[in-house]
């Protein structure tokens, strides 16, 4: 991977990675730190990373970094805060975003990679180190939870 490839990855992937990390860690500052850490690791391992697979590599690294951040944040975030979020009455888009925040990290990541990036099961499995059957099961569970949350909030006609 050359410097040009790295800079192209920064320009192309920094935005989507920030969105991915922001949904995972649910904190803008922590998400930025996670993205920067991911790119720093990419630069350190640029000799081993294929330029065509830089985006998947970045997603994988960002996912793992986000899990580390979430594991630290779980000790700080209290349950009443989550309950307060659920009591809001925003529109459907915001409800889905908040439902997404309540999903487990693996299901959340799969849902974002599927809906935001349009990855197929195989690509998602490469990013998250899962096989296609596992991805399909996790995605089914994630959408099922989303459906139940939306159904409970009575926001769908």
């Amino acid at each position: 991977m050359t410097i040009t490839d790295y800079n192209k990855a920064v320009v192309d992937c920094s935005g989507v990675l920030l969105r991915f990390a922001r949904k995972l860690v649910q904190d803008n500052a922590l998400a930025q730190d996670t993205v920067q850490e991911s790119f720093m690791r990419l630069w350190e391992h640029r000799s081993k990373v294929d330029a065509t697979k830089a985006k998947s590599w970045l997603y994988t690294t960002c996912y793992r970094e986000s899990l580390l951040v979430i594991s630290k944040q779980k000790k700080k975030v209290s349950l009443p805060e989550i309950a307060d979020r659920e009591n809001d009455n925003p529109d459907l888009k915001e409800v889905i975003e908040k439902c997404l925040g309540n999903l487990p990290e693996v299901q959340r990541s799969i849902l974002m990679l599927r809906d935001y990036e349009g990855y197929d099961y195989k690509e998602i499995g490469e990013v998250l180190s899962l096989n296609e059957s596992q991805v399909k099961v996790y995605l089914f569970r994630a959408r099922g939870k989303m459906k139940e949350l939306i159904k409970d909030l009575n926001l769908v006609i």
Partner: protein, 253 residues
């Protein structure tokens, strides 16, 4: 076969695009027969994430690395300097300034003895007693061969000088050399000349020196005899002239 246990899975697969045409038709027929699942079918459709706008973070510029292209500014400046220096050397090269269309080669030729004897060039040696060296300036012949564009060669021998420094065979003693070089104002003083001559005079045993002096004085006596006779004759000649207090001004007198 669709039933209540797998209807949600089929709805999920429908929204994921995993069903073929026959499976889709079967699902639509089941939903038409069981309208209570139509609401769930709509909620499954709403469970997809809305594509949010991607915001390029402001900090991404700080993550960019320098040297985006194959040529950085440093390499480009070095390349430009090399190009300009090459052009300057080509422009100021002597062969290019005189006749740019010709290719000239300068071949140095050592002077031979015949050339020196014929008067073409004579070597000149200058003794520098202070430094204790002999500087020899010899003529040097340089043969210039010019090749035109048509391939014709023309040679021309150019005169030049070549200097060579060699140590003096019997240089001055170090003490004398340093004394002379230290005080150049005393170079013309008789005392210094005498002092240096005494230093340069070889030390000979006194007995040998006295014997040599005696032999020299004896020879001088033999030589002085005719000179006294001539002096007497000269005195006789001048004695004939009248003495006078007047000094003659005419040289022919």
């Amino acid at each position: 076969m669709i039933h209540e246990n797998n209807i949600e899975e089929r709805i999920f697969e429908y929204h994921e695009g995993l069903l073929d045409a026959a499976q889709k038709e079967e699902l639509m027929a089941y939903l038409h027969e069981h309208p209570e699942w139509q609401r769930d079918f709509a909620i499954w459709a709403q469970s997809r994430l809305h594509p949010a706008t991607v915001e390029t973070p402001a900090f991404h510029l700080g993550m960019l690395k320098k040297g985006t292209g194959t040529w950085s500014w440093g390499k480009a400046s070095v390349a430009m300097a090399a190009i300009f220096s090459t052009m300057a050397i080509w422009y100021f090269w002597p062969s290019n300034s005189v006749n740019p269309e010709a290719d000239t080669q300068i071949i140095p030729v050592q002077p031979d003895s015949t050339a020196a004897a014929k008067g073409d060039g004579v070597a000149v040696s200058v003794v520098d007693s202070v430094k204790g060296i002999v500087v020899t300036a010899a003529p040097l012949k340089e043969k210039t061969t010019t090749i035109n564009n048509q391939g014709e060669k023309s040679s021309e021998v150019m005169d030049n000088m070549q200097t060579q420094e060699e140590p003096l065979a019997s240089p001055l003693p170090d003490e004398a050399r340093t004394s002379i070089s230290s005080d150049t104002s005393r170079l013309h003083s008789p005392a210094l000349v005498q002092e240096q001559s005494e230093k340069l005079e070889p030390k000979i045993p006194s007995k040998q020196l006295l014997a040599a002096k005696d032999s020299v004085s004896a020879k001088q006596k033999d030589l002085e005899v005719p000179s006294k006779k001539e002096k007497k004759k000269i005195k006789h000649k001048f004695s004939l002239k009248p003495t006078s207090d007047i000094v003659p001004t005419n040289s022919n007198f």
